[in-house]
Amino acid sequence: MTTTAGTMRKLTYREAVREAIREAMHKDERVFLMGEDVGRYGGCFAVSKGLLEEFGPERIRDTPLAESGFTGAGIGAALGGMRPIVEIMTGNFSLLAADQIINTAAVLLHMSGGQFNVPVVIRLATGGGRQVAAQHSRSLEGWFAHIPGIKVLAPATVNDARGMLWTALEDPDPVLIFENSNLYNMEGPLAVEAGAVDIDRARVRRDGRDITIISYGASLFKALEAAEILAKDGIEVEVVDLRTLRPLDEATFLASVARTHRALVVDEGWRSGSLAAEISARIMEGAFYDLDAPVARLCTAEVPLPYAKHLEEAALPQVAGIVALVKKMVGGHG
């Protein structure tokens, strides 16, 4: 972490998450972190490194390999008055905890007629692009966003990595936070006084008039990079960061599309049944008559992610693909 001029400092996404956890644990003794290798190993992505020394093994709690068991235990602990942060190493392993997340956490409040809410926060690493192959590369955040009863966050910026966790901990209901593992090393500015941020609204990260790109997580930066390139060709792209995938803030992206009349959704999920499909459908329903052209989607190719670098790159949405698609969309019916 390096301090820069004025009231801003620079730190990595990883440090931002770590600070958010530390801060929460200092502020509220009910908060604790639980998951595989969060303690003695230092966290599989080194997010929790050093926290064991600071808080001890009760509150930085290493678990056995038992995703259903410890996720369910986190849900139970939340019911019992604690504010657990459960770390599931990657979203892929959440498939082993899907029962507890969906059959328990998501429905207890409802089934009990409002009596029992579940204030658990579940953090999961997500995303492809690191050549770790099919079983370690999925982006399931959009998929989980289908489930009523949970909230799904996808912080992209350092500021959101820091602020959304705290807001999630204050939320009375189960919140899943998907952290794209490609972002952990990314540096970004953070106000020294930075605090909690809302988890209700999408944000326009770049203004533009010609087309709206809607994205989130690591893809957001690909969209922003593409926008820079397109600006040189005189195409002004507006970029919306969804931030929260469930519940969706459609007002923000519908307003943007109403201004630009064109939209592209960039999403690391597989195309069929993607979150991008939902965004497209919402625009269909809420901004159809504003559209000058059909909404387009750029998603991951419908293939389990291959190990080979050239194939994996071809499978994932990339800057060049965004640029080419936008040019076609804007050029075609300008």
Binding site: S68, G72, G76, G114, P172
Partner: protein, 335 residues
């Protein structure tokens, strides 16, 4: 660690008042379940309905060992547990009627009874799903230095599930105050235990996790009570989780859809000879502790309670349809 084998049946006499109390509790369950069956046939109750007839001694005996502060996690076969734990019969029945006066506002039905006041955490219809939850409740207590017990009921069928394994290991590893109560009624739906488990001694299996485990005659309310008291005391003394296998039998079908192809009438009849209510009544009578008058009084009292419950449910109201999407997310922030 080897299982404590069948905690021996108490031959010692029970205090009259306590004996009557246990008997009354079991009778309340039996009559309540009978009424549910009747109301199901009358289509007042819908969905899945799983009754507890024959297993009353388990819920009654075990719950005696808990205090008001303790927590209960149960299954979809949980009317009896809720009743004995102190959830009003009317609120339970109204739940099955789908009324907003129900203990889950009519949103849960028979399988999802909940009650915050008595720390009754459901009513879980995913077999094995309640175990991790119980582990977590106990973890919260431990971290908050609260000396409470979380009591988790589940069936013999749940023992095959991975969540059983993960939960028992976690509880033992962290020495959490969980009382695991396996209601071994020999069948999971139509699958007999011997077709589900390579090793059918469930207490022994539990002991392999390094926790104290005992098997007890689940048709004997005093034996269950004694074993539960012992286990709860061990938990309160900080000895970590305890496992209690209650060997019992369900007299009725698994649910209202079950054609009972998988067991013989003769087998059911044989078990009915060991009815926990009849046998306990005989024991009390033999010891001169109850009279016919007592029994009549209990039946009358229970009948009144159930009639009132039916009236309460019948008089219940429907939640407005406009409220459909309530309780998906909380309506207020937390403290």
């Amino acid at each position: 660690m080897t299982p404590r084998k069948s905690a021996k049946t108490t031959a010692a006499p029970v205090e009259r008042e306590h004996g009557l109390h246990l008997l009354r509790s079991m009778v309340r369950i039996r009559r309540f379940e009978d009424k549910c069956a009747e109301l199901y046939t009358a289509t007042k109750i819908r969905g899945f309905l799983h009754l507890y007839d024959g297993e009353e001694a388990v819920a009654v005996g075990v719950l005696e060992a808990l205090t008001a502060d303790d927590a209960v996690v149960a299954t979809y076969r949980e009317h009896g547990h809720a009743l004995v734990r102190g959830v009003a019969a009317g609120a339970i029945l109204a739940e099955m009627y789908g009324r907003q006066e129900g203990c889950s506002r009519g949103r849960g039905g028979s399988m999802h009874l909940f009650d915050a006041r008595t720390r009754f955490y459901g009513g879980n219809a995913i077999v094995g799903g309640g175990l991790p939850l119980a582990v977590g409740l106990a973890l919260a207590d431990t971290m908050q230095q609260k000396r409470r017990v979380t009591c988790c009921f589940f069936g013999d069928g749940a023992v095959a599930e991975g969540e059983f394994h993960e939960s028992l290991n976690l509880a033992a590893l962290w020495r959490l105050p969980v009382l695991f109560v396996c209601e071994n009624n020999l069948y999971a739906m139509g699958t007999a235990l011997r077709y589900a488990q390579a090793a059918t001694d469930l207490a022994a299996r539990a002991a392999s996790y390094g926790m104290a485990a005992a098997a007890v005659d689940g048709m004997d309310v005093l034996a269950v009570e004694a074993a539960a008291h012992q286990a709860a005391a061990a938990i309160r003394a900080g000895e970590g989780p305890q496992f209690l296998e209650c060997r019992t039998y369900r007299f009725r079908a698994h649910s209202m859809y079950d054609a009972e192809l998988y067991r013989t009438r003769a087998e059911v009849e044989q078990w009915k000879q060991r009815c926990p209510i009849a046998s306990f009544t005989e024991r009390l009578r033999g010891a001169g502790l109850v009279s016919d008058g007592d029994l009549e009084a209990i039946e009358a009292e229970v009948a009144r309670e159930i009639n009132e419950a039916v009236a309460f449910a019948e008089a219940g109201s429907l939640e407005p349809v406009e409220d459909l999407t309530r309780f998906v997310y909380s309506e207020r922030r937390l403290p």
